[in-house]
Each structure stands twice: as C-alpha cells, then as structure tokens.
C-alpha cells in the first residue's frame, strides 16, 4: 500500500497554481507589506519596529486566511465534483489520498511562509537577524498546522463555509489559548459554574495547539526569546500528525 501518491500531490499543487492562489497571495503579501510600511512610518519613532510588527502580524493573518480558504474550498469542490470518488477509484489508497493532500498543502504552506519572510526582510533589511529566521520557520509550522486543520474540517463537515468557520474558530482559540488559560489559572474563578467552565477550558486546551507561543512578532525586534526551534517544529509536526490521522479515521469509516 502506497501511503503517498506523487501524482495526487502534483494534482493539488497544479490546482493551486490554476486557481491563481499563489499569484493572489503574492499580491496580497505585497499590498499588506506596503500598507504596513505606510502605517509604520506614521509613528514618531521606532519606525522600523512598527513596520516589522505590522507587516509580520498582518501577513501572518492573511496567509492563514488565504491558505485555509484555498484548502477548504478545494476539498469541498473535489467532493462536489466527485473528484474524490474518481481519485479513490484509481490505485490510490485512502491513506495515500489524505497523506498526499496533507503533503501538498504543507508544501504550499512552506512556499507561503518563505514569501512572507522575504517580504519582512524587504520591508526592513537592516533589522534582519536570527529572530527573523525563527519567525519564518515558526510561520511555516503554523501554516502547516492550519492547512491540515482545513483538510480535517473540510473532510468531516459537509459545507465549505461551515468548515472555514470551524478552522477560523480553531485558529482564534489557538492564538488566544494562552490568555484564556492565564485567566483560568489566575484564581479569579471562584463560583462552581466558573470552576466548571475553567475545567472545560483546560480540557479543550488539550487538543488546541499553542499558536500564541509561535510566530511571535517580538522575535523580529528583540531576537529569539525562550521558545526554541525544537518546540516549534515538534508542535508543528505533532499537531499536523494528529489532524491528518483524525482525517484518516474519518475517511476510512466513510461509505461512498
């Protein structure tokens, strides 16, 4: 049994090019960076820092949104056009189908993260340092996680809009989970109902990636902090693995 089908990977990548995803995202990255430079230079001092932070924060969000929308609509369209049925009738196993899609989406994520890093470099070249490299790798992992989350939700949920909303919900939760856990553990929750909610929140956090610790814009200004490359890569690989296997579980149980 092949767990990877290169023609399927190629098929997804060519769809990304055909759907003008790459060119659209490159245009969005350019516009976002230009807007950040404009806004950043309006600051009295620390203009470079403003440009970096606005560019990085904006591009991070735009890349996630662009990639998630592409992945979700691609998968749902494949179901609606019976492409999934057709592909699975070929010598491609269900595992091969999911793993190939996950790999193709992850490859797009890597290209996108590299484009964002280049844009950040071009926005303020004099500030380039190790923090930038870590930020780029971290963005790559974050985009991989979100692309695989989009794959999972679009396989599980029947509509593209519901899937996209679910992925964005997961993203917002992942970005704010540190703050929410901080509130839960601050000792401010005292009533039984709040304690119950706090317990639920802690339980949910078990399956939520800590994206609040990844791709921090402060790395671009003050260099790398206490988050290392190993933690970032481990988080990206483990959570992507969880999502891919969950999507697989759903697909192998599905009747066509």
């Amino acid at each position: 049994m092949n767990i990877l089908s290169w023609p399927t990977v190629k098929y997804v990548l060519s769809a990304a090019v055909r759907d003008r995803l790459i060119i659209t995202l490159l245009a969005v990255i350019s516009l976002g960076t230009a807007l950040s430079v404009f806004m950043g230079t309006a600051a009295y001092i620390e203009k470079y820092q403003f440009v970096l932070v606005f560019s990085a924060g904006g591009l991070r969000l735009l890349s996630v949104m662009g990639l998630v929308l592409f992945c979700v609509f691609f998968i749902r369209r494949s179901f609606d056009n019976k492409d999934v049925d057709y592909l699975l009738s070929r010598p491609v196993s269900r595992t091969g189908f999911i793993v190939s899609h996950a790999l193709a989406f992850s490859m797009i994520a890597v290209v996108l993260a590299a484009a964002c890093l280049l844009a950040i470099y071009l926005a303020a070249p004099v500030t380039f340092g190790m923090g930038h490299v870590l930020w780029g790798v971290s963005l790559m992992c974050e985009l991989m996680i979100m692309a695989n989350a989009a794959l999972f939700f679009s396989m599980v949920l029947p509509s593209a809009s519901t899937s996209a909303m679910a992925v964005f919900g997961l993203y917002i939760l992942s970005r704010t989970i540190g703050i929410l856990l901080g509130i839960v553990m601050s000792g401010l929750v005292d009533s039984p109902m709040m304690k119950g909610l706090a317990f639920t929140m802690k339980f949910i956090s078990l399956i939520i990636p800590r994206l609040d610790l990844l791709t921090q814009t402060s790395w671009l200004i003050y260099g790398t902090g206490n988050i290392g490359l190993m933690f970032i890569m481990a988080q990206g690989l483990i959570f992507s693995g969880l999502l891919v296997t969950a999507a697989l579980v759903d697909l192998v149980r599905r009747q066509f």
Binding site: A42, A43, Y44, E46, V53, T176, I179, G182, I183, Q216
Partner: protein, 243 residues
C-alpha cells in the same frame, strides 16, 4: 402584471432606493465622529485579545492609537482637554505589553508633555521617573527627562531635586557623568532657557550614536523649536542641517 409593468415597477423601485440613499447621505454628510476623550483602558489580561494574543502587535497598535488620540472627525484637540490620568493608565498598559520599547516613553516625554496646563503632566513625570529607574540600556534618559519637565516646565524645584537625586544615585553601566551632576543643575539659579538647553543637549549628546535618526530629529526639533528662540535657532549648530 405583464412584463412592461414589471419593468417599470423595477425601475421605479430602483430610483426610489437611489433617492432614499441620497437622503441618507444628505443626513449623514455633516455628522462627524465625536471625541469621547481618552478611551477606557482594557485590562492587562484582555489587552492582547484584540490582536489574537500577539502582545507586540497590541503594543504597536495601541501605540499608534495613543499617538493619534485627539484626531477624530478631522479635528485636533488641545492637550489640556485630555484626561491625563487615563492617558497614563494607557502608558502603563503599554509598559506591560512591552517594557523594553521606548516609543511610549518618548511620546510621553516629548509629545504629551507639551500640555498647556503644566499641573496636568504630573502623572507623566511619575511615569517617566518610574521607567527611568530601570537598568535596561537608555532607560535612564526618561528619568532625566522627568527632571527636566519638573524643573523647567512645572518649575517644581523640590520634585525636580528629588528626581535628580534619584538619577544621580543610579548605578547602571554606561551612565554619562553629567547625570551625577544633575542635582547641581537643578539647584543652579541659571536662566530657565540656558539650563533647559544644557540638559537637553547633554541627553542628546550622550545618546546620539545609539538612537534612531527619527528620535534624534525629534529631540532636535524639541530643542530648536521649544527651547530656543527663532534667533538662537538660526545660529545654533544643533539646528543646522546636516546635523
């Protein structure tokens, strides 16, 4: 309804909607956003929620918001109309989000200190004094700026002397020698302008190499336009380009 009647009804409905739209525009045109003074400060726990947990992004976004606070609906407000106590709470929130950055201290020291009501800048001086005691590089200059504001803007000699003594007592590496002489500066019965000029030139001279050009320009503008007279500005080397 036959097709011709339907077509006429659709056109009539469209032009009616267009007219209503013009009426709404007519009504809304003179309306401007009203300025409700300095907005309430969010809690530390929730401050970064708006930027999805990105503290640095929150710092910079709030920073620009604070910088452009009085510009609402195309009209600028005088500093004396600002609620400085609430403004200082924003400064402290910003300090929580990024204690290393110098953007907010610079805004407080060079921009918001220009309030016509000199008593109102009390919380700003307290803020600068607190930030200036930190051992991080360059932070001491905010304490020096606090001394300057107390001595030459508020003419509060006692407060200036207390702060000057605190500055002189600092034992951070790289602190210029003149900071030890700050209490003497404060006690000098020199003319206000000369003393103010001396302190600002000292701060500028000590930090020239480590500051971004934008901040150097900001300090030069402060010296040339707010301390010196137009005649003095013409001849002072600090105010000549290129500096």
């Amino acid at each position: 309804m036959n097709r011709t009647h339907e077509k006429r009804a659709i056109f009539a409905a469209f032009w009616l909607m267009m007219l209503l739209n013009v009426a709404v525009w007519w009504h809304a045109q003179p309306l401007r956003a009203t300025w409700g003074n300095v907005p309430p400060v969010p809690s530390q726990a929730s401050a970064a929620l708006m930027t999805l947990g990105d503290k640095q992004m929150a710092y910079r976004t709030y920073g620009l918001l604070i910088q452009n606070l009085g510009d609402a609906g195309g009209a600028a407000r005088a500093f004396k109309d600002y609620d400085y106590n609430r403004l200082t709470k924003w400064f402290w929130l910003e300090d929580y989000l990024d204690p290393k950055a110098n953007f907010i201290p610079a805004l407080a020291a060079y921009y918001f200190s220009a309030n016509q009501d000199h008593e109102a800048i009390d919380p700003i001086i307290d803020y600068l004094a607190e930030i200036g005691k930190r051992p991080d590089p360059q932070k001491w200059r905010w304490l020096a700026q606090g001394v300057y504001l107390a001595r030459f803007v508020q003419h509060d000699y006692n407060k200036a002397l207390v702060l000057a003594n605190e500055l002189a007592a600092l034992d951070h590496p790289g602190l210029p020698t003149w900071t030890k002489q700050m209490p003497a500066f404060v006690m000098m019965q020199e003319g206000d302008k000369e003393g103010a000029y001396q302190i600002m030139v000292n701060i500028l001279g000590s930090q020239m190499k480590s500051l971004q050009q934008a901040e150097v320009n900001f300090m030069r503008e402060y010296i040339c336009d707010r301390i010196l007279s137009p005649e003095q500005k013409e001849t002072d080397p600090i105010c000549q380009d290129p500096y």
